[in-house]
């Protein structure tokens, strides 16, 4: 078992989230998107990433948070998934942080809503909690 792992961190509605740095393909600034009517709500649109068409999923919507204020442009965290690359839209990108397994704790039972499924747990950093996002689960969308 590896005692520490690298997490790529980002901000969502004031919360600090992290995904395993290994799964992150690249981080890019806001891209023009093509919206997809009738798609699940979390799908913000499609991005042309050097010839590869990447679905952008707004993590705020996905986690049941309130929408981003008008005029604020999200960043793209492009992660690898079983089905090719998927872009996660986040408010702001943070550092890559090495975290210690010892500081990990499962989410409290009081955590409800979509976050319950998607937040695997929290790393207790100095003065801050870093929530570990279940990336594979986050890109799974149920179409209505």
């Amino acid at each position: 078992m590896i005692a520490s792992r690298q997490l790529c961190t980002f901000l969502l509605d004031g919360h600090l989230f992290g995904v395993d740095a290994q799964t992150v393909q690249e981080v890019i600034r806001y891209q023009e998107m093509t919206r997809v009517p009738k798609a699940p709500a979390a799908v913000s649109g499609l991005i042309n990433l050097r010839g590869q068409i990447v679905t952008a999923i707004d993590l705020r919507t996905r986690l049941g948070m309130k929408p981003r204020e008008n005029g604020k442009r999200p960043m793209n965290v492009v992660v690898r998934s079983d089905d090719g690359a998927v872009s996660l839209l986040v408010d702001q990108i943070g550092d890559v942080i090495a975290v210690d397994v010892e500081n990990f704790e499962a989410p409290p039972d009081t955590l409800q809503g979509p976050s319950r499924e998607l937040v695997q747990g929290a790393y207790k950093l100095n003065g801050r909690l870093l929530l570990l996002l279940n990336c594979a689960e986050a890109v799974q969308l149920v179409t209505e």
Binding site: G45, R50, G51
Partner: protein, 934 residues
Amino acid sequence: MSFDDAELMKEFVVESQEHLADVENQLLTLESQGDSMDVGLVNKVFRAVHSIKGAAGFMGLETLGGLAHRAEEVLNKLRTNELRPTSLVINTLLRAADQLKALLDQIETSNQMDVTPHLVALQSIMAGEEAATTTAVAIEPTSENTKFEIGISSEALREFLIESFDNLEQAERDLLALERQPGADDLLNSVFRSIHTIKGSAGFLGYLKAEKLTHAAESVLGSIRSGNFPFDESVSERMFTTIDAVRRILHSIESEGHEGADVTGELATQMEEFLQEKLSETPTKVPKRGRSTRKSASSKKAPVAAVTSSKEPTESVEARRAQPDPEVIVTPVKPTPVQANSPKIETAQAPEAAPKAPTPTRISPAPAGSASGSTESSASDSTIRVDVALLDKLMTRVGELVLARNQILQFNSTIDDSALHSAMQRLNLITTELQEGVMKTRMQPIGSVWSKFPRLVRDLATMCEKDVRIEMEGKETELDKTIIEAIKDPLTHLVRNTVDHGIERPEVRAQNGKPTEGCLILRAYHEGGQVNIEICDDGAGLNLGRIKAKAVEKGLMTLEQVARLADRDVGNLIFLPGFSTAEKVSNVSGRGVGMDVVKTNIEKIGGTVDLQSKPGLGTTIKIKIPLTLAIIPALIITSDSDRYAIPQVNLMELVRLEGEESRTSIEWIQGAPVYRLRGRLLPLVYLRNELGIPRDNSAKSEIVNIVVLRADDRQFGLVVDNINDSEEIVVKPLSKQLKNVSVYSGTTIMGDGRVALILDVMGLAQSAHVVTGTKERAVSDSNDRATTNNSNMQTLLVLGVGPSRRFALPIAQVTRLEKLAINKVERADHQEVVQYRGEILPLIRLSDTLGVEPANHPEGLMDVVVYSEDGRSVGLVVDQIVDIVETELINTRPAQRAGLTQSAVINGHVTDLLDLPAVIRMVDPSFFQSTLNV
């Protein structure tokens, strides 16, 4: 020996399947050749089965090996002329080949499968015919060899060479790896297998030296495998020497047709001696370390020392790695053993010099003209196998490059710089060529699909008790791999149908004065960026009367509708769902499903099917398909400033309503909008509604754009904000998150780099409930389409008569357009005629017949439209041939006069449409009489 290396097993399965793929057709050819069979072909089949047998035995696949062995025995009798390729023999072999395939498909459990019936069948063939021919004396090995050398076809030889070069290379690689980890059994096995395969093929083809050499090497390897002595440097040196020698022999075979004299049997003898030495020295000691073996071996005298004296084995390995060119590693063959080590390293350091220095043992026939190193380009170098996924990726990148180029091209036009322009020109050209090149890599000849048809036809024909011969033209016509996959089933179905329904039984054919053997022709060719595939038979043709009756009986059409149909359209009725005229349902075809599926499948990939049938003469089914699926033509439309692509395949026509019309011509039936398209109600679907985009209430609503689409033989109008343009788009799949959204079928990247969604017309129709109606409804709708279609898009020949009158007739009725000299017109039987192609061509002056003032004709030539029916022709004299237009007939008005059907506006002129048969009848009432009697 049990073998569980999955990778190797997979390789074996793929290889064996490839071997078997050809066997089928080769066997069929043998059967057709009968007594005059091509021995080379038997050899090919034998070789394929033999390789399967060898590898199967090696991997412990007893059932597979056993069956292959038995088949091989029968083949052996065939090639020694002890058996004849009777249909019984071929049948049994074919079935055995099928069983081999089945075993390969389930390789894991193959040993548990029961193949006894096949073994018995093969055995009985052996026994049955053996009794009769047992007197045939076994042919002496030497004479056999010469015989086979003659019998080998150049193709078989080429195959053998490619395979053997590959095997040598593989063995070499494995040996190198083996030197690093001498205990690796799988590597040893792999080397053994490679050498064994070469041995088998070489022996079979009568290349004795190669066989002897590989046999000796194989013995050594076999001995190591059974643990008699360990693998060490001395062994690998020996192996490399052998491999090099074999390679030289192969080169010699390739270039000169024989094994050459330079490699002598000495090497094999040395190998045998080496083996004996190894065997005699090791059993007592069984040294674990290669080092001790080497020491003891090097203490020995003579030939062995040549190899084992190499003090730096690693160095020699390095040398080989650095310079695998077999041409330069020739010294070990020399009888002077002392030099073995040093020259090798030298050549590795200076490979350029090597070919120039004539070595006495050098046997490569490479002429001095070919530069150093290039002698290696043999047959095996010309092809490689590439993963399709890699090609797809490459394709994506190239697509991206094309887009980038397009963007740069746009800038280019705004900047005035000649250097930039010329650089752009080159970029442009290179990109285009690159794109074409990458596209080509995905192409496969259609023959790969066709290759299974001879067998299919043969089996079906036997089952239906018919004689059918299959002919193929244009096997090499290339198509995208995905298309090849997509047309496999439809084609199979059509071929089945043709054999079952199209071609008559021999006795019926004989009665009708046709040869008893029916002929099925498959033809493929490129035409206008598309591929045409034709399936022709010389059978009975479609019984149009019965089809019409059936259509009425099944309630697919009314009597009236049927009566209006042209023969050609009647034929195409069989593509309607639930249509079958077969009197009895056979287990081959005729269940009434199929032809519509064929049509749907072909249309799915953007193709069309057309059927033409001549009673008593046969049927031709013509399929037109695009070259590739990756790029399709599409119509780009806009909805709420987003662009969407609609595949052109689904597109029927575009309608634009402006001003007053836009408000009044859309009517509502209880909330469902409809538009009267040429008198027929066209259900309308608003794209904005379907996509959940709010209605646009701005001033633009003055204009209504309707895209008339077809989904599952239903038409509907899609109302969109704007119709942009037609474009070729590169189709990319939807991501997993969007797979379930039914209204899209894919995505694409537009010229400006933005993503656009491709609308799934079928999905759209379903979500808008356009295609939820009952089947009857769908069918009657499609019939409407069929009939209206006849009057919709037509290719017309526009004629000018007199100063201003225009007439038009469907181009399909025109046989030829001619310019004939006016002074050649003669008179016969009160009619103007000309001598035309050795016949008398009656002329009809359109102006006279229709009572139009003719133009003042300049003397000289006149334009004549030749119309033929049933071998008889008539010439229509007109003043001017104006144009050929493909148009849709709008604003038509039924005509009042005889000889005309209707009036329409074509290219801005009011044009009368000719009823050509009526016109001819007005002049020559007897013209059609002979046709009517048929």
